[in-house]
């Protein structure tokens, strides 16, 4: 892995906080000790958020990294692996997760927290990883597939939607297809009526802001703007109409401890700053 140039702590803390770092910090603050977090493939932001929570306030969190169960408080610095199957992560394993067994066992996910992306995310928190277009047999844009998001957004106790790209292309009024169900068409009690054990999405976390969902209409509602982001920026780049509360707070700026831990122990390569 590439090692950062030696820098003084002050210089490192002085660099501006990026949108992706803000996302990781929002994720970390929300996670609770004792929760189980699956860090999926190629998701540097949720990875950093989960590790930050683990190192700062989650000594009893269970982290799944690179298909292993792991506990990393004693690691000075945690390498960032390019591939989910990297064997170097296996040296920290307390258990291997054989993938099929992981998907056969749902009870343990009650305390699980999941992070779901999407090529489209709509105003009711539904996500689409299948494709864009009217006809499924002739998609205009073929997506990668849902991976495990359809199931993980049902059986984990709770989840967030995350996107590194706050744009009208991703944040749409209605998904072309729904591969992970949020609040469906917004009907109250939909998830309960389908006997889905896990709660619906709590937040949509982007590099610009955090949305939560209006408890009555289930429509996305602006919760906080990250420092330096204006309401106008968000409106311009959001493809769905969202609920605007009378007072919009600013996301609390990172503490020194959060930023220092993030930059020296979790993201030494600076992936979230690139």
């Amino acid at each position: 892995m590439s090692q950062p140039h030696p820098v003084s702590n002050t210089a490192l803390l002085g660099e501006p906080v990026t949108g992706m770092e803000m996302m990781a910090i929002v994720i970390a603050r929300d996670l609770e000790d004792g929760e189980w977090v699956e860090v999926g493939a190629n998701l540097p932001v949720p990875r950093a958020g989960a590790l930050l929570a683990h190192l700062l306030h989650g000594p009893n969190m269970t982290l799944m990294m690179a298909m292993t169960k792991t506990w990393l408080l004693n690691q000075r610095s945690i390498e960032d692996f390019q591939f989910i199957t990297d064997v170097r992560a296996a040296r920290w394993a307390e258990a291997y997760y054989e993938h099929d067994r992981l998907l056969n066992n749902m009870r343990f996910r009650k305390r699980g927290v999941f992070f779901c992306g999407g090529i489209e995310i709509d105003c009711f928190g539904n996500s689409n990883l299948i494709g864009v277009g009217a006809d499924h047999r002739r998609l205009e844009f073929r997506g990668p597939g849902a991976i495990g998001t359809c199931n993980a957004t049902v059986y984990n106790g709770r989840y967030h939607l995350v996107t590194n790209s706050h744009s009208r292309r991703v944040l749409v009024e209605k998904c072309s297809f729904v591969s992970a169900l949020g609040y469906g068409d917004g009907s109250p009690g939909l998830r309960a009526s389908l006997n889905l054990p896990g709660a619906g999405p709590r937040y949509i976390i982007t590099p610009m802001c955090v949305f939560d969902f209006d408890p009555t209409t289930n429509r996305a509602r602006l919760r906080t703007l990250h420092p330096g982001v204006s309401l106008d920026d968000v409106v311009k780049n959001t493809g769905f109409a969202f609920v605007l509360p009378t007072r919009v707070e600013t996301t609390e700026a990172p503490s020194e401890e959060e930023l220092f831990t993030l930059r020296t122990r979790i993201d030494r390569a600076g992936t979230l700053r690139s």
Partner: protein, 301 residues
């Protein structure tokens, strides 16, 4: 009975002999996980053999091995919750091009439905019930996923039909002569693919004695491969845990060749297939094409 008649029969085959079982139109399961552990010596032989109209059941996270089979024209239908290569290319280029043009049928599933289908096959049941997927687009875009009311608790569930594999091909670390296979690492979903198949071929980095297998029988992940192929570097350009990491240069070369498919340009992929699959007559010739210095540069750890 003569002593000779009581001898145990080895299951070792050459790549060519083993791959002959993979015929036009069958349902073929492929093991591994994204950039790791795919049975590439066998995959390349399937392409050399000109096999057509396969239903390919990829790994839960399929990588560019499935994409290569699609690019080579072997695949009619793909069953996979994902086809891509993580940060190298998030969506398989041939998978994307062929599904957008309508040449490739995608049987849509997510990971949990995929394993429910494999489990139904393993258990010789018509389907396995699953909950996730209710309320999504899945039952509309995959008509084989049937919503039903469960007769025990009256809940709305999906019936995921059995995904029955005629042949499964896997890559693992070692085997003895009798099909007792051991993986390094987790083995991904390979056990589930094996359990869902009528016939399983495993290529391995090394053959070992049955006594070595017996030193740690708990590590035997596939206790009954029908056929075992010795194929050092058989997962190349993907990783084989404990032997070599993904060969990123080789993967990039494939990606560069496959990307033009998205604008309908087949020339680069034809060149790639000729150079790396069709012209090398077998697995060893492929490795010679890659070259010893490159292969030796892939550190075990």
């Amino acid at each position: 009975m003569s002593h000779e008649e009581l001898e145990r029969r080895p299951v070792i085959q050459t790549v060519t002999d083993a791959a002959a079982r993979i015929q036009d139109g069958i349902t073929l399961g492929v093991g591994g996980f994204i950039n790791s552990g795919h049975p590439m010596a066998l995959v390349r032989q399937v392409i050399r053999n000109g096999v057509r109209d396969l239903t390919v059941v990829g790994p839960a996270s399929s990588g560019l091995e499935v994409d290569l089979l699609i690019a080579a024209g072997c695949v009619k239908r793909v069953i996979a919750p994902y086809v891509g290569a993580e940060g190298l290319v998030p969506i398989g280029p041939a998978f994307q091009a062929a599904s957008q043009s309508g040449q490739l049928e995608v049987w849509e599933v997510d990971e949990a439905m995929y394993y429910a289908g494999l489990r139904a096959s393993a258990q010789r049941l018509p389907f396995n019930p699953w909950r996730s997927g209710i309320g999504t687009s899945y039952p509309e875009i995959n008509r084989d996923l049937v919503e039903f009311i469960d007769p025990v608790r009256g809940e709305r569930l999906l019936a995921v039909p059995a995904i029955e594999l005629n042949v499964a091909i896997l890559h693992a670390a070692v085997s003895d002569n009798y099909g007792n296979v051991q993986h390094n690492g987790t083995g991904y979903g390979d056990r589930a693919i094996y359990a869902a198949a009528d016939y399983t071929i495993v290529e391995v980095e090394q053959l070992v004695s049955v006594e070595q297998i017996q030193r740690n029988p708990a590590a035997t992940s596939i206790p009954g491969a029908n056929s075992v192929v010795r194929a050092p570097f058989g997962a190349h350009p993907f990783s084989s845990e404990g032997y070599y990491p993904p060969d990123v240069i080789a993967l990039q070369e494939y990606i560069e060749a496959a990307r033009p498919l998205r604008r309908g340009d087949r020339q680069p992929i034809e060149d790639y297939l000729r150079r790396y699959v069709l012209e090398p007559e077998d697995h060893i010739a492929y490795l010679e094409q890659i070259g010893l210095s490159r292969l030796m540069s892939l550190s075990e750890y």
